[in-house]
Amino acid sequence: MEFDTITAISTPMGEGAIAIVRLSGPDAVSIADKVYSGTKRLSEVDTHTIHYGKLIDPKLDQAVEEVMISVMRAPRTFTREDVVEINCHGGLVSVNRVLQLILQQGARLAEPGEFTKRAFLNGRIDLSQAEAVMDLIRAKTDRAMNVALNQMEGRLSSLVMRLRQTLLETIAHVEVNIDYPEYDAEEMTHALLNNNLLTVKKEVESILQTASQGKILREGLSTAIIGRPNVGKSSLMNALVHENKAIVTDIAGTTRDVIEEYVNVRGVPLRLVDTAGIRETEDIVEKIGVEKSRKVLKEADLILLVINGNEVLSHEDENLFRAAEGLDKIVIINKTDLEMKVDMDRVKKLAENSPVIATSLVKEEGIDELEQAIANLFFAGGIEAQDLTYVSNSRHIALLQQTIHHIDEALGGIEADLPIDMVQIDITRAWEILGEIVGDTVSESLIDQLFSQFCLGK
């Protein structure tokens, strides 16, 4: 059978030190070759061998990962197709970056169970195994649908649905001009179309940059640790980093001395960020006042507010609470190894409904509870830390990129003065792709739109 080339992360998400991104299909080797830099081209290596090298992002012309790549040529592979496995650093950020890179080179993200399905369709496994695969497909699809439903309520979905509606109205407008040429609807001109498309494109681009789901997955949940001097902020940071095998990276475009640290806490990617000098937050409230600090703190997705349990609440502590009022936070009462002098009732009141965790960072106590509290907060909707949430987001990113591609094609058609009904082919495609994000590609909705938007008839 003839298939396209698929890819997916094949290792469980989260804790592992190493993750594997797998490709299967006729172009598996050539796709990997586009981003691999090593002593030999992968197309030239022997089958069933493994190679050290670097992955290069062709857009930035920059190395992004150190990897070991296995090349296994058909038919002696799991799927009986050419298979490439990229071993990279574990952790959401790096493995996601590798997957994105591969997707950008033309591989398609695998459906749940698709590697196994191919193995079966290529005659690799027998029927009893196949029936298990079918259960898997069914179960995974249902689970994916649950995730999709959760996301339906999310910001991404509502944005995508609004953009789809804009595109749909545009398409319906073009269609009404075609199917009812004498109807007195305004003619959809190239200029009008151009404007609508540019608006949609801009929004898709900004979703790609800022949609909170995608941002968290690509960049981690930006996390600020605040507190007065000597309450244990550095110890907390070190504890989280130490426990969780942090990846310490230089972020392109920032100065060398601003180091951001990524940690993966029970499946939640955290970016311990130095937002506007948060390491000196002991000073900021004093320096710039509560209101201004609030603005700074609002840029963080999560605030870890540390106070010293061995001291009574100070004016500065109270100000920090005020600055963090109403924001997502966890309050950490440190130094439980010493005598508790802090007024717990007052702290709980100031904490609003945020979790309050007692720790002794010196004695390494309470860190588990803190990690659990972070995970609980992130998965508050009851979503389990499962690969599907993550994968479907990777899928979204790929789909949004395809949407932009088709909008660009349409814009190019307008530029070349092609007839509007041809330009529309790409607009329709963009609309369909956005539909895949929210799980809706029913073409009948165009007909519905046509008749609700315009008054047609004989």
Partner: protein, 628 residues
């Protein structure tokens, strides 16, 4: 009281736009054919607008022609004006529309039927089918005549339990007060067919002599000769115009004040009406912010003063209709000749059909046209032609002819009906076609003439002319791809005249033609063809070269679709027994019984996971074992 009447190969019940195509196709393919109609005076009657064609529909007319049907030739002989629509847009959506002389259209069609070999045209009302062992073996008429046949095509239009509604008045009737067909509908229900109740409507007609045309805008036909049929050589030049006027504030107030008398809002109408054909009262209620609605005045023929008031379809009472007319500029003194009305009728649920339009329930029984839940003369003609072809092929013991979604609008129409069904009268729209760049009106002959020839509907001489045209197109495209245009002074000058940028280096003529502003005549000026090419060939060359990029993209999609279409599913597959299929998918697949994985994927409620599971079964060869 019954008596044995004659024996035929194929019997077509009905002689509307579906029936005539079915009967003519069947007879021309050599099957001894009987066409029975309630009233011989209404063969190919147009109970609603006197027009043929338009976007999507006009392309169907050309497809009917390319397959050897009659509609295109008949309208070419009997129209009062013709226009090409969407000329400012791309080639894929251009379409012809003709205003018909509805009486001439009927007479011409009847004459053609009367003069067709193997075809018997007879008046009679069919009330029952003769069914033996699940096979349809003939029909029984009201007068007791029992006609035997090997296949029967039902094309009963809006006659089944037809009911006309005008305001508070309702009575059993076919369109335009013709006799309805009551018993046949009950008989179909007895046979186990699922039926639905649909509704459509028509506007009032007025006397042309009482219209003040000075208050309206003229809508003339094109001044270049046009024709639907690829074979038409004589063109009608003497055309009649249509006229445009509008409803106004006064009209809307009057309608709003009389809504309580409208059967739509009093609950008298139970059938589902089409959204694309709303009544004027519907438009005013649903789009109450629109200050005016277009009204086109269309002559019904050359030898009548009757004018069709397009845009004013209504089921309001007759007295209200008269007052509405008086509010419209130009119609203030217009004399009402026939009142508008709504009509309800029974249709069969089309998912009960195979792609050949044969019913799944009764072998040898085919259905086409409005009976299948569509509306429109062209949709009826397309289905009638296919049903007639497939009835004749069945009699000849041959495989049915099925067009896929990339081959014809007729294919899109039938696939939609039998796979998705419809919950309102179905109208073709260009947006229903995924590959509309391939389904152009200009290439219907290239798509379908060969198939028409293979089944015996396209005569040898016509086929040879077609092959010649095809060869000329291929030769010319090949020439343009190989001839190079150099940046000479003359070339640059011609390009400048066409507002095109000068050449920097030599370019193939084909590539130059791809520039939006460069037309074939410009290329012809630069590198003339050796012999003058017919206009249709030049048009084809220009379209195929200019839009090659987009056409290739669609062809690649078609290729993908075909792979799925080629994975066949056994008709007796027991979907209920396939583990892993979702319950909804099981039920829908069980109902539709798709013939291919491709068709299965278009059934509503079937998702990609279900298709994966079907594929797995298919690959494993387990399907045969699960089959009942």
């Amino acid at each position: 009281m019954g008596y044995k009447a004659d024996t035929f190969d194929v019997i077509v019940v009905g002689a509307g736009h579906a029936g005539v195509e079915a009967a003519l196709a069947s007879a021309r393919m050599g099957a001894k054919t009987l066409c029975l109609t309630l009233n011989l005076d209404t063969v190919a009657y147009m109970p609603c607008n006197p027009s043929v064609g338009g976007p999507a529909k006009g392309i169907v007319v050309r497809e009917v022609d390319a397959l050897g049907g009659e509609m295109a030739r008949n309208i070419d002989k009997t129209h009062i004006q013709m226009r090409m629509l969407n000329t400012g847009k791309g080639p894929a959506v251009r379409a012809l529309r003709a205003q018909a002389d509805k009486y001439l259209y009927q007479h011409e069609m009847k004459k053609t039927m009367e003069n067709t070999e193997n075809l018997t045209l007879r008046q009679g009302m069919v009330e029952r089918l003769i069914i033996e062992d699940g096979e349809c073996r003939g029909v029984i008429t009201k007068t007791g005549a029992e006609y035997a046949a090997k296949a029967v095509v039902l094309t009963t239009g809006t006659y089944l339990r037809g009911k006309i509604i005008i305001g508070e008045l309702a009575y059993e009737s076919g369109p335009n007060n013709m006799a309805p067909s009551i018993n046949l509908s009950y008989h179909l229900q007895e046979l186990g067919f699922d039926m639905v109740r649909f509704k459509t409507g028509t506007p009032p007609r007025v006397n042309s002599k009482t219209i003040d045309y000075s208050k309206t805008e003229i809508q003339p036909g094109d001044d270049v000769p046009r024709a639907f049929s690829y074979e038409t050589t004589e063109f009608i030049t003497d055309q009649l115009p249509c006229w445009l006027t509008y409803t106004g504030e006064e009209t809307h107030q009057l309608i709003n004040g009389n809504l309580h008398r409208s059967p739509m809002y009093s609950g008298m109408i139970e059938g589902t009406g089409p959204r694309y054909c709303p009544s004027i009262e519907d438009k005013i209620v649903r789009f109450n912010d629109k200050p005016r609605h277009q009204i086109f005045l269309e002559p019904e023929g050359r030898n009548t003063e009757e004018v069709y008031v397009q845009g004013l379809s209504t089921s309001l009472p007759e007295d209200v209709q008269k007052r509405i007319l008086a509010t419209i500029p130009g119609l203030e003194k217009a004399e009402l000749m026939r009142a508008g009305y709504a009509i309800e009728y029974d249709a069969i649920v089309p998912t009960q059909l195979w792609p050949s339009l044969e019913t799944k329930r009764v072998n040898g029984l085919f259905t086409a046209g409005q009976l299948n839940g569509t509306s429109g003369y062209e949709e009826a003609a397309g289905q009638g032609l296919m049903a007639g072809i497939n009835a004749a092929l069945k009699v000849q013991d041959k495989e049915p002819l099925v067009l896929d979604r990339s081959e014809a609008y007729i294919g899109v129409l039938i696939d939609d009906l039998i796979t998705k069904g419809t919950n309102e009268p179905y109208r073709l729209l260009t947006s229903r076609a995924e590959y509309r760049l391939l389904l152009r009106h200009d290439n219907a002959d290239l798509r379908l003439t060969k198939k028409g020839h293979e089944i015996g509907l396209i005569p040898q001489d016509r086929y040879e002319r077609f092959e010649e045209k095809k060869a000329l197109i291929a030769q010319e495209i090949d020439r343009l791809e190989h001839v190079s245009i150099k940046p000479s002074e003359i070339v640059q000058q011609v390009l400048a005249e066409s507002q095109s940028t000068p050449l920097k280096e030599p370019m193939s003529a084909a590539n130059l033609l791809k520039r939006p502003e460069i037309t074939y005549p410009v290329i012809h000026k630069l590198v003339p063809a050796e012999t003058a090419l017919p206009e249709t060939v030049m048009e084809q060359v220009e379209i195929q070269v200019k839009y090659a990029g987009y056409i290739d993209k669609q062809l690649a999609q078609v290729e993908k679709m075909r792979k799925m279409e080629n994975k066949k599913l056994p008709v007796d597959l027991d979907y209920m027994a396939i583990n892993g299929l979702a319950t909804e998918a099981k039920q829908k697949l069980h109902e539709v019984r798709p013939l291919s994985v491709g068709q299965a994927s278009r059934v509503s409620g079937v998702n990609p996971a279900d298709i994966s599971i079907l594929l797995i079964y298919l690959e494993q060869g387990k399907l045969a074992k699960i089959a009942r």
